[in-house]
């Protein structure tokens, strides 16, 4: 079975449910309940890390998209567009790049 987002979420919820049963148990000791709480805390952190990793990977995809769009813009410019606004735009971008380079230096 493939480990999908949905399945991962279900595993997390199932694990929490088992630990919650310990927490709510009439027979579990205080120490056992404390251990269950700690385990849930650990599970939370692992699940958060998995989720933020996934969001960051998505951002990478978006960034790749933005790079492609930059190439699209460059292609339009290189095609010698007669549009005056494009030329002005290019000038602005060059100016912005200069500022950024100076900032990086």
């Amino acid at each position: 079975m493939k480990l999908t987002e949905k399945l991962t979420q279900q595993i997390y919820l199932d694990a929490l449910s088992e630990l919650e049963a310990v927490l709510r148990s009439r027979t579990a000791s205080r120490e056992q309940k404390r251990a269950a709480l700690d385990a849930m805390d650990d599970l939370d952190r692992r699940f958060i890390r998995k989720t933020t990793d996934s969001l960051e990977a998505r951002t990478e995809q978006f960034r790749k998209f933005t790079k492609a769009m930059a190439e699209v813009v460059a292609a339009i410019e290189n095609a010698g567009s007669p549009f005056a606004a494009l030329k002005r735009l290019k000038k602005l971008v060059n100016h912005a790049n200069d500022i950024l380079h100076n900032e990086d230096a």
Binding site: I48, F62, T66, V72, V73, A75, L100
Partner: protein
Amino acid sequence: METRSAIGRCRKRIGTGQRWFAGLALMLAALTGAAGCTAVPHHDLTAYRKAFTEAREASMHIINDLGLAWHESAAVLLEGDHDDDDDWQAFDPAKPAQPLTIDEQVLVRHQLWLVTGRYNDALAALAEGRSREQVEGLVNGFLASVRELPFRKLADLAAGAHPLAGVISESLFLIEREVQARQFHRAVEAGGPLVDAILLAMQQEISDHYDLRLVLNTRARRELEAGLQMDLLPSFLDIYESTGAHEDKQPALDAMNDALSETFRYRDDQLLNAMHDDAAAPPSPAERSQLMMIAGEVKSKGEQYAAFREELLSYQQVLKLYYELLDIARYRMALLRQVAAEGGEVPVDDLLLAAIRLHWQFTKYRNARTGR
């Protein structure tokens, strides 16, 4: 007369359950000078553009909320014990040396909506058959929005199995070809799959939005439950059992079990047992009062617990509507590309209704959060 016939057409197309929203949308359309409820003529896409703007604004709330949840989650990770595992996570050479901050990652999503909106403006202008100058202005607006994206943060990523990669390279080829052929109309059309891929990716990450809120919500509920299990219940049982289980303590026990089952949703086997001891002494007024006070506190905590649960359910509804809205936006833009090429009509009522529903549900969700 024309408005009435428009309403009639609208009612035929949508279900009775949606009529209230349809009525609201029609009123909005009338107030904003839109042409009708279900379709707009080729030469006027004002209503469509307004609907798209509404959709974009509604989506801003979702992205901002993601940013908040992301920050809260980062704080949870920082609270945890620092162990060696944190220092030795899997090395990924494709990752940039300096990752984006959370705010920058959220901003990328906002900017992509901006790009999508500008692209949509250019597309709508083509579909309306506007003048070359007007189209030029809007195409440039789109390009300018692309330029505003955080190129400075771009890293050369290793070629991988990114879902967007295929779409990007194919679209890029088509766009370049059309631009070189001076077919700007077709170039915009060819850029469609790129924007579509972005909306699809946003749709796919909705499960991550939910997962972050799920953990945060679960933790908030657990904090209440930890207080219950580690403090309130032991205190209650200490008093209850100290002088024996006299039947005069039954009202307090009932109050406690009611709070546990109704708000914390405890199962029967998790409730406190009543084992009356005939030899036990009756509780003093102070003991009775203490027991009732603790039961009352458990009820109060339980109500907070239930409110958190409701909040999560409300967020589920928000995300369902957001998913639906992205679906409709993708479909409408695909249709608009077709209209730009071949003419025809673009229905707008479903996009506007989806935006209104999302706005409304998000307001309910936000009120549930601030009201607790």
